[in-house]
């Protein structure tokens, strides 16, 4: 069950960067070697940076790989005027060490034992925890229905595109991508922002009682959650995680 691991106070530990790969124009996938024990899909870690004068900054990042995978992966979006993300995307290299604590969370978590149907709704880098859930769904051989509605700006901005295309071929998995800024000729997915009309059409209906997870920029998450509750989804089954912005 969720959170079966023995709880202890979290402490900071050192992780080794094993891979650092640009995935989209604005997002990098960072793979870490670290002994955290098994994590749950949906959990996050906190990263801490320390300047030479002792000043520290910390931020949270979702774990984008499944517990069954070998590395703990993050997907970090570069915010041009950000304090922490440009360091993680531009300065950090494979072989470097960084400080982190985790895994954290037990509310915004899905694992095979919880069954389905499950509706995932992501804005931008908010897809990160759902990548872990999709990988876990496959590794665990889950037959739960899992449906992802994912909003990206343009085709180039789709994170983990190849893996999402592969997941879309699996029984029980639906991947529904909408592009908000520009769509190429011949684009077969959706176009436009996630609004009440799109949710009514694309989301597993409330009558089927899906567990719903919404993740991404704060305004995106709050708008989607409000519309879903208005469409009859019980507030308690609509779980949210706000990334800020």
């Amino acid at each position: 069950m969720v959170g079966a691991a023995i709880q202890r106070r979290l402490t900071w530990q050192v992780a080794q960067v094993s891979a650092h790969v640009r995935d989209t124009p604005r997002c990098w996938r960072i793979s870490l070697d670290v002994e955290l024990g098994a994590w749950l899909p949906g959990q996050h870690i906190d990263v801490r940076l320390t300047a030479s004068d002792g000043y520290q900054a910390q931020r949270s990042y979702s774990i984008a790989s499944a517990p069954e995978e070998r590395t703990l992966d993050l997907v970090v979006e570069r915010l041009d005027d950000g304090e922490v993300s440009p360091y993680l995307t531009d300065e950090l290299r494979a072989g470097d060490a960084i400080e982190l604590r985790g895994p954290i969370g037990g509310y915004f978590v899905w694992q095979a034992g919880l069954g389905g149907p499950v509706q995932l709704i992501a804005g931008g880098s908010g897809v990160a925890p759902f990548l872990a859930m999709l990988e876990h769904h496959q590794a665990a051989g889950s037959d739960a229905r899992l449906s992802l509605l994912y909003s990206a700006r343009a085709e180039d901005d789709i994170i983990a595109r190849e893996r999402l295309d592969e997941h879309a071929q699996r029984a029980g998995v639906e991947i529904d991508i909408t592009l908000t800024r520009e769509a190429p000729d011949g684009w077969k997915g959706r176009i436009g922002r996630v609004d009440a009309a799109m949710l009514a059409e694309a989301v597993i209906p409330a009558s089927e009682q899906p567990q719903v997870f919404v993740c991404g920029p704060t305004a995106f998450v709050e708008g989607v959650a409000e519309a879903l509750v208005a469409q009859g989804h019980a507030p308690a089954v609509v779980k949210t995680e706000r990334f800020g912005g």
Partner: protein
């Protein structure tokens, strides 16, 4: 979107800081607001993490439920706004 909304997070963002102190999975802990009596999971509370400390508010009435401040060598936690914390045992 207003300045405040742009900086709004939820209890997931404060969980690492709280688990530095409490040895429980904190986002599933249910907190009852001392202001209005509403109960919510810590993950559902509203968090403003860019103040000098972290301010955690009730999603129903906006009252402060918890405040955290980290100073060198200690963490201060003000729980005046939490009537109860219900911690699931396993």
């Amino acid at each position: 979107m207003d300045h405040i909304a742009a900086h709004r997070l939820d209890g997931n963002a404060a969980a690492g800081r709280l688990e530095d102190v409490f040895a429980v999975e904190i986002t599933s802990v249910r907190a009852t607001c001392n202001g209005c009596g509403a109960t919510a999971a810590v993950a559902e509370l509203t968090v403003y993490a860019d103040a000098p400390g972290t301010v955690i508010r009730c999603p129903s009435c906006e009252a402060v439920v918890m405040r955290l401040a980290q100073v060198p060598g200690s963490t201060w936690i003000d729980l005046r706004g939490a009537r109860t914390l219900q911690i699931p045992l396993r």
